[in-house]
């Protein structure tokens, strides 16, 4: 995948995760910049099957609006109201694998969102310390 295609794909991933976990007046949603950095780390560090699962879930999200009655266009081209209907419909769809795809997106969105200092602050939680990423070597 070329760098520009990869960049575009990452932007799409970020927008999908933001749709899954949007901001409310009480807590922030997904921070796009943090999310993009996180996805770069995710790509580098997680096993291939988990990357595949995320990418497939994003594709499912993008192209399944006809199955949720939200419209015929790809999810990110829907109006905000229809996009919301699509999110809700996918999360409670009768097809198990569609629900599983949403679960995958919610899980990844949660990893970004729950570690965001702004989110934690809004909920009265201390920010996470940096992961030391070290081990006993001898």
């Amino acid at each position: 995948m070329s760098a520009s295609v990869r960049k575009r794909w990452r932007r799409t991933q970020v927008r999908v995760l933001s749709a899954i976990l949007p901001p409310t007046s009480f807590v922030p949603g997904i921070d796009h910049e943090r999310c993009s950095d996180f996805l770069a780390r995710y790509r580098r560090e997680v096993p291939f099957l988990m990357q595949l699962a995320l990418n497939l879930s994003v594709l499912v999200f993008l192209f399944s609006p006809p199955l949720t009655g939200a419209g015929l266009r790809p999810a990110l081209a829907l109006s905000p109201v229809r996009l919301e209907r699509h999110c809700a419909g996918l999360a409670r769809h009768r097809i198990y694998h569609l629900r599983q795809a949403t679960l995958m997106l919610k899980t990844v969105a949660g990893l970004v969102w729950g570690a965001d200092p702004a989110v934690r602050d809004s909920l009265g939680l201390a920010p996470y310390a940096e992961d030391p990423r070290d081990r006993r070597r001898s």
Partner: protein, 518 residues
């Protein structure tokens, strides 16, 4: 190399060492056996697939924990009609590093059943197990959690249970000095949790043994029927590492090999090593669980307090479930809540008013574990294993009854709404609609399960058709090959397993040491 050395990932020349025993896997089972053998004066090599992380190395975020502590990034799933995540660690100390530290003694009824149905009455007598567990409790600082350590979500559960005349108790945990950071899943940032990476594994080193970390064992090596060692290759735990591959190692065991790679890891290792027994990899069992979240008018602050401070065995006999409180890190909460988009965000905004309580089912379902034929991409030992398992209708019915009970308890404790997280049931329920949980589908795809208490696949027993390890503690048909982890437990327990695993491992090691002495 010298005795008392820790060998971590290395490249370069292959090497070989020889000691009395090799133990594969350093979770509660492997570490309990290794420390006992060391105390008996035997030299022990402890081979662990994961890295050794001390308290300052513990990750803070869940992503860090998945990467640094979990087995293969937590991607192992039980496959059946539904996909159920299996949570296990791969690090020195095993799953004991990420668990909630609850220690429960083995119920006598379980030992009785193992005596009559599996021929283990002479080995696992109630007196022997009690003695072992008393010693372990003293060594690992096991204590009931005090009021100051409990979180509000724990206290609410205890109050609701008391109000409804149900049995209730603060949990006993190997974390006497727990500071209630609620971060057990990320290892313990304070060192209060006395998992084996901080206790029994260093003891093996001090006694002159060797610890090999980042050292997945590929095969047990045999001479004839006798296990004489293991071999493998160091693996760098950093997935971004692109340097030369790890050195191959071979550890010769003069006296025996003890396998403790967990309920999903031991059977595939034995199978890869050429052990062929009808019961190998079969009889995989679990306590699958799920939770109900209550929303309270006042703040609950669920991330403050011990990870799991309250528990009840009130429904162990009639419903086959155990009830517990649980702290779920914020990073994992979206995956647990129903809905997506604005519905999900609205629920999350109330997270500081939530208490999560879980029901763990003493399930009757049985599954299996086997090696995958396809290699995984830089996967750990579990990534190459396939678990097939599916809760039965009866198990789902038990969970359903458990979740309905939890929902009612939430309302007793003052919750205004509950979030059951069941497909086909509304996202939120008020008190008048709890009956909808009782009417929820019995299809296990409707439920959000998780598997963390695992059993079997190398069961102990006297019948070679149904077991893998005989009452003489050798794998059937082999010499000097033993299994000392959750995989050797022939049934579920109905209570948290680590204490039983430790006791069985320790009694096995004691028997081995005594037999040789005799």
């Amino acid at each position: 190399m010298t005795r008392g050395e820790h060998l971590s990932f290395r490249t370069g020349a292959d090497f070989e060492l020889e000691l009395d025993y090799v133990v594969v896997g350093s979770g509660p089972g492997g570490s309990a056996a290794a420390s006992l053998l060391s105390r008996a004066g035997r030299t022990v090599a402890l081979c662990e697939a994961g890295a050794w992380r001390d308290t300052p190395h513990m990750p803070a975020s869940v992503f860090g924990a998945l990467r640094d502590l979990f087995s293969d990034f937590g991607q192992l799933m039980a496959r059946g009609r539904s996909m159920i995540p299996i949570v296990q660690a791969s690090c020195v100390g095993g799953t004991g590093v990420i668990n909630s530290a609850i220690c429960v003694r083995t119920p006598e009824s379980v030992l009785e059943g193992w005596g009559t149905d599996h021929g283990l009455g002479d080995f696992l007598t109630p007196a022997a197990v009690e003695r072992a567990q008393t010693e372990i409790e003293a060594e690992l600082d096991v204590a009931a959690m005090g009021d100051g350590q409990l979180g509000r979500h724990d206290r609410l559960l205890l109050e609701a249970l008391a109000m409804t005349d149900r049995e209730a108790h603060p949990t006993s945990r190997n974390a006497r000095d727990c500071r209630g950071s609620g971060a057990c899943l990320q290892g313990c940032p304070t060192g209060a949790k006395r998992s084996a990476n901080l206790t029994w594994v260093p003891e093996v080193l001090t006694a002159g043994g060797c610890v090999l970390s980042c050292a997945p064992v590929a095969r047990v090596v045999f001479e004839g029927e006798r296990a004489v060692g293991v071999r493998g290759r160091f693996q760098n735990p950093d997935r971004t590492y692109r340097g030369p591959r790890g050195a191959a190692f071979r550890v010769r065991a003069r006296r025996g090999v003890l396998v403790a790679g967990s309920a999903t890891g031991s059977a595939p290792l034995l199978a890869r090593s050429g052990v062929r027994l009808p019961a190998l990899g079969k009889g995989f069992r679990a306590h699958p669980g799920s939770g109900v979240i209550g929303i309270y008018p006042e703040r609950v602050d669920p991330l403050i307090g011990t990870t799991q401070g309250a528990s009840s065995i009130h429904h162990s006999d009639d419903l086959g479930i155990k009830l517990e409180s649980l702290t779920l890190p914020l990073d994992l909460l979206p995956g647990r809540l129903s809905g997506a988009g604005a519905t999900l965000a609205r629920s999350l905004a109330e997270s500081s008013h939530m208490a999560m309580w879980v029901a763990a089912v003493n399930a009757e379902a049985q599954g299996s574990v086997r090696c995958a034929r396809l290699p995984t991409f830089r996967g750990g030992p579990y990534g190459k294993n396939i678990v097939s398992y599916q809760p039965t209708k009866k198990d789902v019915a038990r969970l359903r009854a458990g979740c309905a009970t939890l929902a009612r308890l939430h309302f007793e404790a003052g919750a205004t709404r509950v979030l059951p997280g069941i497909h086909g049931v509304p996202v939120e329920l008020d008190r008048d609609r709890v009956h909808l949980i009782e009417e929820a589908p019995l299809d296990n795809r409707a439920w959000t399960w998780i598997l963390s208490h695992l059993f079997g696949t190398c069961a102990l027993g006297d019948d070679p058709a149904r077991s893998v390890v005989g009452p003489d503690l050798h794998v059937h048909g082999r010499r000097a090959l033993h299994v000392v982890d959750a995989s050797c437990l022939p049934t579920t327990l109905g209570v948290n397993p680590q204490h039983t695993i430790q006791a069985v491992a320790r009694l096995t090691a004691e028997r081995l040491a005594n037999c040789e002495a005799a």
